[in-house]
Structures are given as C-alpha cells and as structure tokens.
C-alpha cells in the first residue's frame, strides 16, 4: 500500500496494521526518514516537500510492485509526507514484511533506495540565508544502480 499525505504517521500503528490477520509473516523490516537540522555546516530551520499528484502515487506503486517481483513478500507499505516540515519530523516510512527476515530487510532497503531517485518529490530547505532546492546526490543514484546491476 502507498500513501502520500500531509499529516504525520504513527509507526507502531502502521507496523501493527501491516501484519494484522496474517500469521504467515515472520518479520517486518522498516525504515523511517527524518528531517535533519543541518546540511554541511549550515543549520536547517525547516523544509517544504513538493510532489506531483498523480504521477507520484503511480511511481510509488510501481516501486512497490518491483519489490514484490524481486522478493517473496507478504505486504509492503510506503508513506511519504509533503508540505511544511520541521527538524525531527518524520518524512517517510517504508516497510516490508515476509515469512523470513532476509527478504524483508533486503526489500525495505531496495524500496527506500529506489524511492529516493525515482519518486517525484522535491525538498526545499530553509537555510539561514534563504530557501534552497536540494540538489540530487550522485551517491543516491549509485545506491539505486546497485539494485539494477546485482541481477
């Protein structure tokens, strides 16, 4: 399941819902992304996240579908927030459940790596001297390539 939302999410509740009623699940792996309060040596006061309604949901659904093709998963969840966020706020939650831990952990790692370079979201950081759009990082692209070249 995927959700793009303004409001915060409750990790405990979401993990519980993900496994509820499925006794075949042996483990859930999760990743939570938070707003940092720094970039390099500069302080971040907050950030605004923009997305592309329609395409973003499609891209997240495609990423989720790809994970299910590659691993034997019981369920997956991607929640990504948009709008105005402050340091310490939760931005993203990615979870994968499976009968065994290896698939769950690998799929969770894959989901966040692919999301970072394929899902249409853009961060604008509020720095001491004004706002700045975050530039895409080569490292993120390398992390995504790892999943492309390994098989």
């Amino acid at each position: 399941m995927i959700r793009v939302q303004l409001e915060d999410f409750d990790i405990g509740l979401e993990l519980k819902k993900l496994s509820s009623g499925n006794l075949g699940i042996g483990g859930i792996s999760s990743f939570v992304g938070l707003v940092r309060d720094f970039v390099g040596v500069e302080k971040i006061k907050g950030m605004t996240l923009e997305y592309y309604p329609g395409m973003t949901e499609k891209a997240l659904t495609a990423i989720e579908g790809e994970a299910h093709k590659r691993w034997a998963l019981e369920s997956t969840l991607i929640i990504h927030r948009y709008g105005s966020l402050k340091p310490g706020d939760q931005i993203v939650l990615v979870c994968a459940s499976s009968a065994h831990r290896k698939s769950a952990i690998e799929a969770c790692h894959f989901l966040i790596d692919w999301l970072k370079t394929k899902a249409p979201f853009w961060k604008c950081e509020e720095l001491p001297n004004g706002s700045e759009w975050v530039k895409a990082r080569d490292l993120d692209i390398e992390q995504t390539m790892k999943w492309t070249t390994r098989d």
Binding site: E50, Y52, I112, W133, A136
Partner: protein, 83 residues
Amino acid sequence: MRLLYFASIREKIGISEEEHDLPSGVSNVSGLIDWLKSQGEEYAEALADQMVVKVAVNQEYVSVEHPISSNDEIAFFPPVTGG
C-alpha cells in the same frame, strides 16, 4: 496540451501550469523545449540545462525524443530529492 512545472523549474518560470495548443512543427519533447525556450527569458533560463530537466509525458518518465500530441500532460522538473 497541459504543461506542468515543479520545484525550481516552477519557481523560475513563475507558474505551476498552463494550457497550450501544440505549436506547429513541434512533434517531440525536444522540439517543445526549444519552442518553450523562445517564449521568454524565464523559460530559457529554467530549461537551459537539459541535463537537469526531467520530463514526464502523461505521468511517465520519457526521453527528449518522445513524441507528444495535443492531449498530452507534459511535466518538467529537476532530478527528484525525496525520501
């Protein structure tokens, strides 16, 4: 066609979306970018670096050779930075 702009490209152009008839002689994304660049300084600047301009046609990533038609939704945005 419906044109959408996001993030830094939206800010440079100054609007988030607009409707246009398909300009005559324009048949693909590359041609549309060239035409838009001739529409004003703000377009020329926002779309100057084709390496950092990503394009989606009907909400799918495409290359600049991708054909376009008058009913398409065409979005321009910088490389994504979510997560």
